[in-house]
């Protein structure tokens, strides 16, 4: 048969397949589909067809790339749009079939897309599907659309036309065309493909080899597998073209033995191609001889390295050898050899068919064409995608991938597998091309792309990849074999909390040695995950080493239970959950009080970072830790056990400046340690922010009073209110042995816009202070609150309660990005607070006595350092808003009142030694918001406690304030609960919005005993998880 005849035959086969004159069903049965149950779905479809006596053809096709929605089924019948269904199961398949074929109903809820150009109501056309919209499909041109086991399908869609064109050209012309296209090696290193071919062509010798590297080994990468499984002929055609260009008559495909389906498809495709003389002794009668053999790799990652791959084909141990000589000079059996990866080769037929210019239209100057990626990790739509080079990472993650599940924040994107690097969220705008990725410390790699969210520990990620390269190193060269071993050992000890200060530097030195000294690419790039994580996430390393903290609460060696680990004060949450569940409320309260002196206050208003890391949240909802704490505090107080007695007086005197949570906590513990403590408070009543910043509807005043009174009694320290005109040095002069500055961040920040000094403009703290001291704070009818944090919510809700008719929160980003706790935002909305997102004030004018707030609409712009889109103004979207008052809640800073003696940073934060909390003045310590800037109550409590330890040591004590009050041993014998059914969180009772606004009273109520018991029982007891090795 001539090629034209072959094509004609193929077209008729295709017509029968794609024609609209019959019922047909396509099921994606790539490995991804099979893993999701596609084979069972096919069986169910066949059963149904048989039962219903419906004649329809069922075809198996490859992978469309929408792996998150596997199994995928496409249905077609004459006169109706062909529909693609996702997440088809044996349970729902009958309904889908019934609706489509029997009822003629369109669409079912599970329809993902309409195959073809046109959409129908509610269902996008295939290429308008959000995951496909931004894609350009060259390599994946046939994937999921043809039967990969049928060469005619491939031919009918233009297959082998590129080869036919190639054979009519001279090899030099072919190479020229590939060079012109700008195609670069898709295996990772990005060497220009045409040049590689040319080197091999120019090498002396008549016997040459063409090898396809299908030894895809990066964790999380499956591009090559999908291409081979879905469109094997594209690879074979690409190889045949390459072989013609370089002058090879023998070829190998080196494919992983772990890819049985890919091997089956290749074997089948080779036989078919030979039948049509597209392979063989005389390809398409051109005189070109080319045969392909399959060689199965035994699963050694290093065999992806060219020289190791060659050794493996030769039957030797798969170990790399130094280059030069390059394979193009001395390759397989010492003969010139060209090695290209699957994706590179799959591009080649398209380039030859459509021309280099067509190909070069996509991509950037130096990185032409498209690239496939396997999207995996913490991303909504996982799957296989193909995008034009130069697209930004952010577009891939958020538009194609649909962002991060569960409203979590993105932390990093890992590209290039174990040889690649972790690109931090702040670089998400970076265009994806070879040079940019390399500059960021990562590599393009073969296309693995793993998205990581805030719950990912970057040290652990580095450890994971090093563990991989450590076990996959061939062991030949010392830097790789022992460098990975050393790095793994160091990373292991860091993640176990046994890290040393010099470890980061040591890691960098080992990494440098490997980069410079290792024999092959594996060893040279193996340190990349370590280098990039240190480069971008050094603070996480330091947290592990210095503070023994895993910020993501992941590292098993450090994290007993994520809630407890995340709690700044380290409250043993699972233990008191167990006591609550056992009805032993005072024991539960004792557990809390082992770490914090303010259980009630925290029960009302703690920011509860514990809940964000609660493992129960992965299953259904996190445990309501805060609400249960309030319950324990309320119920447990009645039968409290005696605490450790106060120590003997030491004769030392300590002054604490500020009676907020940090100051009071420190005073409490220092007093208990026997020191004579005086707390100096500027205001008339103690409590600091607890009293001035947090409105009573969230934290009743009597709770503050009771709790302060209780600790003063237990520790016998004194509080001197109305203390002004004091300073640290003065206090030292007055005979105090040590001074702790804990006066918080009480200064409201301004935005720096025109008119913000107007009398109608209030800073949030001042406003709240007045509100909380029951002054009249009625600001008039319309109040705008600027900001999205907790203070903004408090201010807005306070304003409402003070009499404002209309309160509007203006926030320059979107709701998801608001720093305020979600429940506070929810409550504010319930109460009638308006919120305008993506809106920012630009100026404030007073016009005819009325206050005009000039605003502008914003849109998400480039990523900022936190990986959030930076809001940028939309030109021409300015508008005016007439208001009666404006409350600015855009940030706080320490005042310089009491701490002027000590060294501070530019924002006014006092600088202290991280371990001792001591300032640059001897004997003067500082803690809390004064040091950190505005943070949470629980952080202030934790800091106060640590500062107390340090001051005690400074005063000659041991600095030990740990106490075990609650009996605990018998509770440790249980086991972690696993395999739980989903049970949602017991709702926290709240008063009706109308009522609570009207009377200004409590918003939230305490759990009933029944609710508390049920909620506490949901705890998975992660702290009892057995060490799994």
């Amino acid at each position: 048969m001539t090629f034209t005849q072959i094509q004609q035959k193929a077209r008729s086969v295709w017509k029968a397949f794609a024609g609209e004159d019959r019922l047909r069903i396509l099921v994606g049965t790539g490995t991804c589909g099979r893993a999701a149950g596609a084979i069972e779905v096919i069986e169910a479809i066949r059963d149904w067809l048989k039962r219903e006596r419906i004649e329809a053809r069922v075809y198996e096709v490859g992978c469309l790339g929408l792996c998150y929605a596997e199994p995928l089924v496409e249905l077609g019948r004459p006169g109706a749009p062909r529909l693609l269904y996702g997440n088809v199961t044996i349970e729902n398949v009958e309904l889908i079939l019934h609706d489509y074929f029997k009822e003629g109903r369109l669409p079912s809820d599970l329809a993902l897309a309409v195959m073809g150009e046109k959409s129908i109501e509610g269902i996008p056309a295939l290429m308008d599907h959000p995951m496909l919209k931004g894609q350009v499909r060259v390599v994946l041109r046939n994937c999921g659309l043809i039967d990969p086991a049928n060469i005619d399908h491939y031919l009918a869609r233009g297959g082998y036309a590129g080869l036919a064109k190639t054979l009519a050209m001279s090899p030099d012309k072919v190479i020229e065309e590939i060079i012109k296209s700008g195609l670069r090696g898709r295996g990772g290193a990005g060497f220009p493909t045409g040049m590689k071919w040319e080197y091999c062509r120019r090498s002396a010798g008549s016997r040459k080899y063409m090898i396809c590297n299908a030894d895809e080994g990066d964790p999380g990468a499956f591009m090559d597998r999908a291409v081979i499984e879905s469109d094997p002929h594209s690879v074979i055609e690409g190889m045949t073209i390459a072989a013609y260009a370089i002058g090879a008559s023998e070829g190998y495909i080196y494919v992983r033995a772990e890819y049985p389906l890919a091997i089956e498809r290749l074997e089948n495709a080779i036989v078919q191609a030979e039948d049509y003389a597209l392979l063989g002794d005389n390809v398409l009668d051109s005189g070109h001889r080319f045969h392909i053999k399959l060689k199965q790799g035994a699963g050694a990652f290093v065999c992806g390295e060219e020289t190791a791959l060659l050794a493996s084909i030769e039957g030797k141990r798969g170990m790399p050898r130094p280059r030069p000589p390059f394979p193009a000079q001395e390759g397989l059996h010492g003969k010139p050899t060209n090695i290209n990866n699957v994706e590179t080769l799959a591009n080649v037929p398209a380039i030859m068919e459509h021309g280099s210019e067509w190909f070069a239209r996509h991509g950037t100057d130096k990185s032409r064409g498209t690239k496939t990626f396997a999207l995996a990790g913490k991303i909504v739509r996982t799957g296989l995608i193909e995008v034009p080079l130069g697209i930004s990472l952010g577009e891939i993650v958020f538009e194609i991938g649909g962002g991060i599940p569960g409203n979590k924040k993105i932390k990093a994107v890992q590209t290039g597998g174990p040889s690649g690097g972790c690109i931090p969220a702040k670089l998400l705008d970076m265009p994806v091309d070879y040079e940019k990725l390399a500059a960021a410390g990562a590599i393009m790699g073969s296309g693995g792309m793993v998205v990581m969210d805030e719950d990912t520990c970057m040290v652990d990620i580095a450890r994971y990849f090093v563990e991989f390269t450590h076990s996959e190193s061939c062991g030949k060269c010392v830097p790789c074999r022992l460098g990975t071993k050393q790095m793994l050992q160091i990373l292991n000890r860091i993640t176990k909390g046994e890290g040393r200060l010099e470890d980061i530097d040591l890691l960098l030195q080992i990494a440098a040695t490997m980069k410079q000294g290792a024999l092959c690419g594996l060893g040279q790039t193996a340190p990349n995950p370590v280098l990039t994580t240190i480069r971008y996430f050094r603070d996480e390393y330091e947290a592990h080493i210095k503070r023994k903290k895993c910020p993501a609460a992941v590292c098993r060696g450090l994290v007993k239970a994520p809630c407890m680990h995340t709690c700044p004060a380290g409250v043993h949450v699972p233990r008191y959950m167990r006591y609550i569940a056992a009805g032993r409320y005072s024991d539960a309260l004792d557990v809390i009080m082992e770490k914090i002196p303010f259980p009630s206050i925290c029960g009302y208003v703690c920011f509860h970072p514990c809940e964000t890391k609660c493992r129960r949240g992965d299953l259904d909802d996190p445990i309501a830790v805060r609400a249960l704490k309030r319950f324990a505090a309320e119920r447990g107080i009645r039968r409290r056990r005696k605490r450790a007695p106060k120590a003997k007086p030491t004769g030392r005197r300590v002054a604490v400046v500020g009676s907020g949570p940090a100051g009071l906590t420190a005073a409490f513990y220092l007093g208990k340690l026997g020191h004579k403590v005086a707390v100096f408070e500027r205001d008339t009543q103690p409590g600091g922010t607890l009293r001035t910043g947090i409105p009573g509807f969230r934290l009743p005043r009597n709770v503050i009073d009771e709790e302060i009174e209780r600790i003063m009694k237990a520790s016998r320290f004194s509080i001197r209110t109305n203390s002004s005109n004091i300073s640290a040095l003065k206090l030292l002069k007055r005979g105090y042995d040590a001074v702790l500055l804990a006066c918080g961040a009480q200064k409201g920040l301004k935005m720096g816009i025109e008119g913000e000094d107007d009398a109608g403009v209030f800073d949030c703290l001042t406003f709240l202070k007045r509100f909380n001291s029951s002054e009249n704070t009625n600001l008039g009818g319309r109040v705008s609150v600027i900001g999205g944090g907790s203070s903004a919510m408090d201010a807005a809700r306070a304003a409402l309660r003070a009499g404002a008719r209309e309160v509007t929160v203006l926030y320059r980003r979107t709701r998801v990005e608001m720093p305020a706790a979600a429940e506070e935002v929810e409550e504010a909305l319930e109460e009638g607070v308006n919120m305008e997102f993506l809106t920012a004030p630009t100026a404030i004018h007073r016009k005819n006595g009325a206050l005009i707030l000039k605003c502008i609409r914003m849109q998400p712009g480039p990523m900022d350092d936190s990986g959030r889109a930076r809001p940028v103004p939309i030109d021409g979207s300015s508008f005016d808003k007439q208001v009666d008052a404006v409350i600015m809640a855009v940030g706080q800073a320490p005042e310089d009142t009491f701490a002027s003696d000590c060294k501070a940073d530019r924002g006014g934060r006092i600088q202290v030694d991280e371990d001792t909390f001591q300032t640059n003045c001897n004997g003067v310590f500082a803690a809390g918001d004064l040091v950190t800037g505005p943070a949470s109550i629980i952080e202030a409590i934790a800091a106060g406690r640590l500062a107390a330890c340090s001051i005690d040591r400074y005063l000659g004590g041991q600095g030990i304030i740990a106490e075990v009050v609650a009996p605990d041993k018998e509770e440790e014998s249980g086991e972690m609960l696993e395999e739980q059914d989903a049970v949602p969180r017991i709702e926290i009772p709240k008063r009706a919005p109308k009522d609570r606004v009207a009377d200004g009273g409590q918003v939230e109520l305490c759990y009933s005993e029944q609710s508390a018991l049920a909620e506490a029982a949901r705890c998975l007891r992660c702290d009892l998880e057995q060490e799994q090795e």
Binding site: A300, G475, V478, L482
Partner: protein
């Protein structure tokens, strides 16, 4: 150091600021080394392919990205290299630190302390402080090998052992198993070393840069080292003996020695226990009342002198005979034959060469005019085609086998193997022709028939350098492969392929040994090989030739120095009056012009009481000679037997007087190896007790017989040798220290001769001799249905006198085995390990069965090292009519399973 062709282009490069000139193809590391610049390295080793694993030898090279390894980078013109920059050393230091962190670093108790290369590199780099924490390594010990142990916790995975085993030894007993940090050296399927295919050569141990591989007995370092030669086979390997307190405490190959470049086989490396054996002879013994008793030297020497004088006076000088020794030095052989000729007046002197290469001497002398290896050992590696026949080189000449393997593995040579047994070299052979034992002539004639009929011969060479071709041509006209196939059992097509392969090669080398010579057709076999080389012109140029491998360390020298009945030193005929006159002048007195009796003839004459007195120096005919029952009878018929040896051998036990001699380690002198290379032997320690060097004993004896031999040292003897032996005329001890000299070396300025017959043959033109096929003297028949052939094992040598005193060798290769094809064994009801009785028309022995496909069906193989199952009780003493060599290789045998 690698060998480069002479016309190699020179490259000039700059290393650390100095200009260095080296041949093209040199690596940067080699270039630096040649300029005296030290670059630390752990995985690079002489003779091994560059590996690039330790990364220690990284350097900076202008124009090359990164830090290339100098061991894998070839020099190029104008290259600028910096070997010692801070950048480079920083990386090196960290690598070194990682290695040390992964190493037990128990230097003080490590046997490699002071010679450890890791220690050296660490010290060079100044790595002292350990920033890295120790990484854990499993300590896997393998002490299964009797000679060396392996501790993988010390291994740095440089791969030198693996590469040496594969690249140098062609064995491949070990490889790297596992991946990454779990990589470790392992045998195939991870069996203990002793159960692997390891040949215990110790090459890996020698090349281990740390203490991971260590010789068990090398506990204390030597106080001094002495270079000498291996006393076993004819390869002539250089040894370095480490001596401490008068004892040998270490042995290693001499890396400077051109023959072995540091490589040894298991015997040379580990089998020298005999030197210090407790049963060495320490005093003379005299038979009194049928028993050998200790005696003084004076008593013993006087007794020997008087008995020899008595017999000579009574029955004439030819009633005396002497066996010289292929184990003794050239000087001692010279003195011995001179003693026999000048003092006793007989030419009845011979030695065991008669049993191995008499046919070579006879055959090659007739065709070329000289009977020795035409070419050199080192050239083998560069041949295009190697035809090995009748030589189990791996086991009998292990270090020469390395060259054959290297030729195949490294340089792509084709190996044609013609051997009935599937010997080790078959693994490397392109063609293996398994001819029936004793049919070599038929096979060779057929090959020549093919070459001539297909016009593959070298017509120029035949025309210009040879004579007798036409007649010869006719003699092989009928020898078509099909006919040969019937005789030999080798398929005709295979014969054709072999003929073509050999004839078409640019440089084809023939290597043979006892499998060719020990036949009643031995001389014909040799002639046929010579014919084959001549018709293809494979003579007189490098890497070609006809190369008989000599069996004993100094069998070549013993022949050269006239320990033969028909020639004086240097193959000068005793019946040539001019020669006789020359020696009479040199030695004083008159000499016999009558050629003496050969070894077997002497035995026969003794049996017939024509020879009455026999003087045996360092030979053990009671095990080495065919038909031992006959030998025993002959020796018992003697009136007087004097044996001079280092042990009370089977022969010495029959002696009237036994004289204790010194071993090779206890004497100075020279050995001539199989490639005609005369090399120095140096004394490492004193002989035990009253033992003396052989030449001293002979001189004493001569004096007592009234003939003065006033030599003061072996160097003086060599001076006399040079004066009467034209082929040794240019040789003196002062010229031999470096690489020795290959004879002919006619004058003091002559560099020696690597390739014989370059311009012409000693006899002028090469002479073709037709060799019609004859069957062996005794063929299997109904009564004795199997063919018995004999040979050597790697682990033992000759009659075992030396090797069987090594405990380790005995562990690896104990007791007397025989090899039988499993099919034959099944027929005889014999299973592996059975004690079986083997009987021929001459004798009966018992041996343990080894079932192996190495033996072709119908053939029994037996090594002759074991006195408890002495193969030569069975062998046939039928002689080759020309060379008088017995037919060890073919006789008929019967196998009978013993009743339990």
């Amino acid at each position: 150091m690698r060998i480069f062709p002479k016309d190699m282009k020179e490259i000039i490069l700059t290393i650390d600021g100095s200009k260095v000139t080296v041949p093209e193809g040199t690596t940067v590391l080699e270039a630096a080394c040649s300029a005296g610049i030290y670059i630390p390295t752990l995985c690079s080793d002489e003779g091994l392919e560059p590996y690039g694993a330790c990364r220690m030898c990284i350097v900076e090279i202008d124009g090359i990205k990164g830090l290339p390894t100098s061991c894998t980078t070839a020099v190029s013109d104008g290259m600028t290299v910096r070997t010692d920059t801070e950048e480079v050393n920083k990386v090196r230091r960290m690598i070194c630190e990682m290695l040390i962190a992964d190493h037990p670093a128990d230097c003080l108790s490590c046997s490699s302390n002071q010679k450890c290369e890791l220690q050296k590199v660490a010290s060079y780099l100044g790595v002292t402080q350990q920033r890295l924490e120790k990484t854990k390594r499993e300590s896997i010990l393998d002490n299964s090998n009797p000679f060396f142990g392996r501790d993988l916790s010390k291994c740095i995975l440089c791969g030198r052992c693996v590469r040496a085993c594969r690249e140098i030894r062609g064995v491949g007993a070990i490889d790297i198993a596992g991946r990454g940090d779990a990589s470790h050296i392992a045998t195939i399927t991870d069996v203990p070393i002793s159960e692997s295919v390891c040949e215990s050569c110790g090459e890996c141990v020698d090349r281990c840069p740390v203490g991971a591989l260590a010789v068990k007995t090398e506990i204390l370092p030597p106080t001094r080292e002495v270079k000498t030669l291996c006393p076993y086979c004819g390869c002539g390997c250089g040894l370095v003996l480490g001596v401490r307190g008068g004892r040998i405490v270490s042995i290693r190959g001499d890396t400077d020695n051109v023959v072995n470049r540091g490589s040894l086989c298991v015997k040379g490396r580990f089998g020298l226990d005999f030197v210090g054996a407790h049963d060495r002879l320490t005093t003379p013994l005299i038979r009194r009342n049928g028993k050998l008793e200790k005696a003084s030297w004076a008593e013993a020497l006087e007794l020997v002198a008087s008995r020899f004088r008595e017999i000579k006076d009574k029955a004439g000088p030819d009633a005396l005979a002497g066996f010289s020794s292929a184990k003794c030095t050239n000087e001692e052989n010279y003195v011995f034959q001179k003693f026999m000729r000048a003092v006793l007046g007989t030419n009845n002197v011979d030695h065991c060469a008669r049993l191995c290469h008499a046919s070579t001497v006879a055959g090659l002398a007739r065709t070329f005019g000289s009977g020795a290896m035409t070419n050199s050992i080192g050239e083998i590696e560069h041949a295009d085609c190697i035809f090995v026949t009748g030589s189990n080189t791996t086991e009998a000449h292990p270090v020469i086998a390395l060259k054959i393997k290297a030729a195949v593995q490294k340089h792509g040579a084709s190996l044609i193997l013609a051997d009935p047994r599937r010997i080790d070299l078959a693994r490397f052979a392109a063609l293996h022709l398994r001819q029936r034992s004793g049919t070599d002539v038929a096979l060779l004639n057929a090959m020549m028939n093919v070459i001539i009929s297909e016009g593959l011969g070298n017509k120029d060479f035949i025309a210009s350098r040879t004579e007798g071709f036409e007649e010869f041509k006719k003699s092989v006209e009928d020898a078509v492969p099909e006919r040969a196939a019937e005789i030999t059992g080798v398929p005709a097509d295979l014969i054709r392929q072999a003929a073509r392969m050999y004839a078409k090669a640019q440089r084809a080398s023939i290597i043979y040994s006892m499998g060719i010579t020990q036949h009643t057709t031995g001389t014909d076999n040799v002639l046929a090989l010579a014919n084959l080389a001549m018709i293809t012109g494979n003579l007189g140029k490098e890497s070609t030739g006809v190369n008989p491998l000599r069996g004993q360390n100094n069998v070549q020298g013993a022949c050269d120095l006239g320990a033969l009945p028909d020639v004086y030193p240097g193959y000068q005929k005793v019946d040539d009056p001019a020669i006789k006159k020359k020696f009479e002048d040199a030695w004083g007195g008159s000499l016999s012009e009558k050629p003496g009796l050969t070894l077997v003839e002497i035995m026969n004459a003794a049996a017939e009481k024509r020879v009455k007195g026999l003087y045996i120096m360092g030979e053990n005919p009671m095990l080495s000679d065919p038909n031992l029952n006959h030998v025993k009878e002959a020796l018992e018929h003697l009136e007087f037997l004097c044996v001079q040896d280092i042990f009370l051998s089977e022969t010495a036990q029959l002696a009237d007087v036994v004289l204790p001699a010194a071993s090779f380690a206890e004497k100075d002198g020279t050995f001539t190896n199989t490639e005609r290379r005369v090399q120095m032997v140096h004394k490492a320690c004193e002989p035990p007790g009253e033992a003396r060097q052989d030449w001293e004993i002979i001189c004493e004896l001569a004096a007592r017989l009234g003939y003065a031999m006033p030599y003061r040292a072996p160097s003086g003897i060599m001076a006399e040798i040079a004066s009467v032996t034209p082929i040794y005329a240019g040789i003196s001890f002062d010229r031999l220290e470096e690489n020795g000299l290959q004879w002919p070396c006619p004058d003091r300025s002559h560099p020696g001769t690597a390739v014989l017959h370059q311009a012409k043959f000693p006899c002028g033109k090469g002479k073709f001799h037709p060799t019609p096929f004859r069957e062996a003297a005794e063929l299997p028949d109904e009564q004795y249905p199997y063919l018995l052939t004999t040979g050597r094992y790697l682990y033992h040598f000759h009659t075992g006198t030396l090797s069987r005193r090594s405990a380790g060798l005995e562990i690896i290769s104990p007791s007397a085995p025989f090899e039988i094809n499993p099919g034959d064994a099944a027929r005889e009801g014999v299973v592996e390990g059975d004690l079986v009785e083997l009987a021929t028309r001459r004798g009966v022995v018992r041996a343990r069965a080894v079932l192996t496909e190495r033996s072709p069906a119908g053939t029994i193989f037996m090594p002759f090292h074991f006195k408890e199952g002495a193969a030569n009780m069975l062998t046939n003493d039928a002689l080759d009519p020309v060379a008088k060599i017995p037919e060890f290789k073919v006789c008929a045998v019967r196998v009978s399973k013993l009743n339990p």
